[in-house]
Amino acid sequence: MSCQEITILLNDYLDGVLSPTQKQEVEAHLKECSTCQELLSNLQQVRVTLREFPQISVPPSLAEKLYQIPAKKKAKWPTWLGWLARPLPQQITATLAALSLAISFYTLLPNRAMLAKYLNQQLHLGYHHISSLWTKAESITVNIEKVSDSLKAPWQALKEEGKED
């Protein structure tokens, strides 16, 4: 076996999981090769050293910060607020918010009577404006019908003349 082949087996050799044949081959090689002996010794040291690194405890200040994370998250985004942020409830929430804003604005206004009078006037003006537009539209429709009727007779006459030719 070459040094490269032995190197690959050294960890398994130290774990004691090699087959008897492989173990014999490794040991035979190690007897004659000082480089692989040195590597084995260093590998042993590395394995022991890695296991000796103790687990370090979590500093109390860090633990305290970690305990606060779930509470902070809850405070930041409560469940009911999360539900309100969903697409459909979001639209309902926005409408309700706008409505409540308008109502509170109206209710809390000091000279509410004036605003009510103004709004009433505006509503009446709007209504009159719409009804006058409606009357105009009706008269335009009647005129169009009259024009259309007056054009029907000449149109028929022209069509008949065309047939005779």
């Binding site: 960890n11 590395v46 050293t49 979590v58 500093p59 860090l62 633990a63 305990y67």
Partner: protein, 167 residues
């Protein structure tokens, strides 16, 4: 409950990975923030420890990639970090301390995946199967990475020790 049970594992993984106590504290907080916002993604049939450590591993790899340059500036702090963390205890003999310091520094020279395999298996005592599940690779790959990593550390130790003796 989650903090008590899992904070030590996350903190140790972060510490052995970053080699800095301050950074490990920051990283642990970041990982727990991620954990609480990703809990919805966890399914009951999953192994929670493995799932959490995988989340931690992904976070560490992302962070390490972003901050690769900064790592080289920390090398000189290794001995202080080790002493302050109790990894170099006064009971350790001079040679033992020297070997620990060399191995600790050498860990930083391993590739990210090999280092994570060594940290989880050798330093944190996970099994091959657990390490494979956390790193989401076959058990054979983990065995090969650990074998490779330990041999690399042994060679780095061999390179460093004669130099130290000459000094």
């Amino acid at each position: 409950m989650i903090v008590n049970t899992y904070a030590p594992q996350i903190f140790n993984l972060a510490f052995h990975f970053t080699h800095s106590r301050e950074e490990a504290e920051d990283v642990t907080q970041e990982i727990f923030l991620k954990l609480f916002s990703s809990l919805k993604k966890y399914k009951k049939e999953m192994n929670f420890t493995a799932w959490l450590l995988t989340l931690a591993r992904n976070h560490l790899i992302d962070k390490y990639r972003r901050e690769k340059k900064e790592k080289s500036l920390r090398q000189e702090l290794d001995e202080r970090v080790l002493t302050e963390s109790g990894l170099l205890s006064p009971e350790n003999g001079h040679d033992q301390k020297e070997v620990k310091l060399i191995v600790w520094k050498a860990l930083d020279q391993l590739s990210t995946e090999v280092r994570l395999s060594i940290v989880l298996f050798d330093l944190m005592g996970k099994t091959y199967e657990e390490t494979a599940e956390i790193l989401d690779v076959p058990v054979g790959t983990i065995k090969s990475r650990i074998n490779r990593g330990r041999l690399q550390l042994a060679r780095l130790l061999a390179d460093q020790q004669p130099q130290k003796r000459r000094i």
